[in-house]
Assembly symmetry: C2
Homo-oligomer: 191 residues x 2
Amino acid sequence: MELPIAGRGRPERADAARNRARVLAAAERLFAEGAEEVTMERIAAEAGVGKGTLYRRYPSVAAIAQALLGEHERQLQERLLHDPPPLGPGAPPGERLAAFYRAMVELLERHGHLALAGETGAQRYRTGAYSAWALHVRNLLAEAGLEQRDALIDILLAPLAPDVYAHQRERGIEPRAIAADLELLARRTLG
Amino acid sequence: MELPIAGRGRPERADAARNRARVLAAAERLFAEGAEEVTMERIAAEAGVGKGTLYRRYPSVAAIAQALLGEHERQLQERLLHDPPPLGPGAPPGERLAAFYRAMVELLERHGHLALAGETGAQRYRTGAYSAWALHVRNLLAEAGLEQRDALIDILLAPLAPDVYAHQRERGIEPRAIAADLELLARRTLG
DNA sequence: GAACTAAGTGGACGATGCGTCCGTTTGAAT
DNA sequence: ATTCAAACGGACGCATCGTCCACTTAGTTC
């Protein structure tokens, strides 16, 4: 699930690897419990690890959530490049954006608690994931003849913010309905 | 700038009024300084007021920011009802949404620092202001034959989140460009 | 397998912010 | 002048943060 940082430097020591796994497992458990109050201290305690050990690897709770989320996001990025259309290349841009929205709704539905912890507020725009989505949308815009419309990138990504999605779900809106409306937006904008 | 809570109960005592003014002035000053780190303690100190006094009136920093923002938001709500088209009633829904976007960009540009402090994350959806915007968009959607599309409400409001706007400005995008792209979105979606 | 060493560990610590509690002050009504 | 409820303010207890450093341990060397 978590790769050692490919090849760089000497390999991870055994106790370090053990503790890394413990930390991620503990964090996942806490996030899943819907725990709003996930703190570094609590994660350390749950993992049976000292606070110093935790800080050695991760600077914040958000960073841990991102580490957990990263794998899933990377998979989606892969699919954007290599899946058959409309998610992968080959379909008209409106359809590709619609497919991307659908996939993101699925990801948010499954891992929203992580996204909420890891990509809240200004954090969101500094993650590698956001840059990747932005690049994808930028390309779709260009393909639709909307290059130079830089602001549209963030505008079209805004409804995918974890807190927006969480709010919609709290209002009782179903994932299918959210996806459907996002697809409407995609087709009308890039159609 | 700040009205006494109309008529209800006995009038505010003189020292209370004085301190309320001091607090709001101090807070505005701190928010304007771009201070990321605005805390209740700092506001109290800057206002020359005890912490207990501060908490008596406002439960959190966000609440203070909202109090400062409220007036401006209320003015815009008023204009949505009474201004000439396209901001007020009478224009086609796509045009009205475009006008609303334009007005919001102006508001964000002028008071973004307050919005950022007062409407961050999940807070945003619990403010009265958000409900008001949602109602407005809901009506425009209905007028455009898109009733029952509840998710679209939050989707169309998402790009107005203070952190999205802040991110765009940090990327160097000008207010005019943001407004233009939002208008494009409005026309294509509700056009 | 003993000695060595650098990576890794853990928890005490000082700092900061929160929100409350309660003795004191003050405005205004009588 | 007297009264008293409203308002004040800062000390207090609690939680979290992030650091620091003495100690432990994995892996290497001979």
